[in-house]
Amino acid sequence: MTSGNRDDNETARYTANLVDTGIFRAIGKPPNEQYDKLRAAVASADTRLHIPATIYEELGGDTTADAFPSGSEYVDEAIRDGWVIVADHLPGLLADDEDITSPVERSRHDAHRVIANVTNHPKTVNQWDDTALVGLAVRLFEQNERIRVLVHTTDRALSKAVRVVVPQYGYYEVKCRYYPPQTVKDQIGLETNLAW
């Protein structure tokens, strides 16, 4: 065969969809209509939904069990079917704020600061887990050259944190879609929401 001269531009960038807990909570446990629509939309947009390990745990998932997936009635089926991917635990602890060189870890501390500034809530109630989507976005960019990231969240402040922090690391191909929680059911199954 004499292929191999495919134009680079034809190699479409992969759009990774990062999804926050509130989206899956609003869709509810399968089987249900919204879940089916989301699965179909993911397939036709030719994408996958990526979640940090902490979000998997928030959805009931057990990351310490021998069997995987295990424990989440919201996403285990989708994980087994291959359209939801749980990322390995992200590095970084709230306590360590000095001499951090890993971009993923640094981005989480940046996000923590931005969330505190955006929300005007002291860092004492600022949840470290709120930084996970930022860390995962930076990690996906670090690991993949041809990628775009689309983040879906029901928290306005987190949408802002992603958009402020991720470009600090040189990655501008990031969009965030904010959903008022009661709009998720009607919106999330739309293929256009999952495509760049």
């Binding site: 509130g22 402040a157 470009p167 904010y178 009661q182």
Partner: protein, 204 residues
Amino acid sequence: MGTDQSNSQTPKEITATGAGRISELRPVIDMLEKPQMAALYTVLRDHVVTVPELQAEVDVTKSTVYDYVAALQRAGLVSEVETDGTATKYTAHEFVVTLEVDGMVVEVTPDVVEVLSYQETNLEIQGFLEQYGLATLAAFIDLAHQHAAGDVTTRMIADLLDISRGSAYDMLEHVGRILDIGGEPSTAHAADIDENERDELLER
């Protein structure tokens, strides 16, 4: 329907504001326990209507509608509107009543009344009320408005109120739908953030 057992905590201290109108507190307390009365107040808050029109919206007898309207009128929460000689129409007034219940301060607002009108029909609201109580529900409703404005995250709400994150996510959906807060979904590109704003938000 119509049982009055829920939220039967006894308020100890009461303060009220309602443009200086509130003249009797019992009907305010009654609304916390009677979902149909809460629903009736909510209809009058959004519309100027007659008693038959009210009855069409609220699932109680005509005489109960009259009783509720009279009680809310006595309290200063509802007034008659000038009409052109046809059936009398009514409207509701905004108010804030602060109660102290079991050492916790509860701000009773029209939004709290509206959410409580679903306490027997919405399982999520009912379960939350049973598990966490009225004071936490009222505080949650206030935080739901802050959340819609982006001033607090869901995980922070769970932390602030000591409720489960799952409850916080689920309740934001229900309260958001009932009160219609949060606007429409929107998509924003990272490159559109102003550099000055970016620097400010990254400051310690």
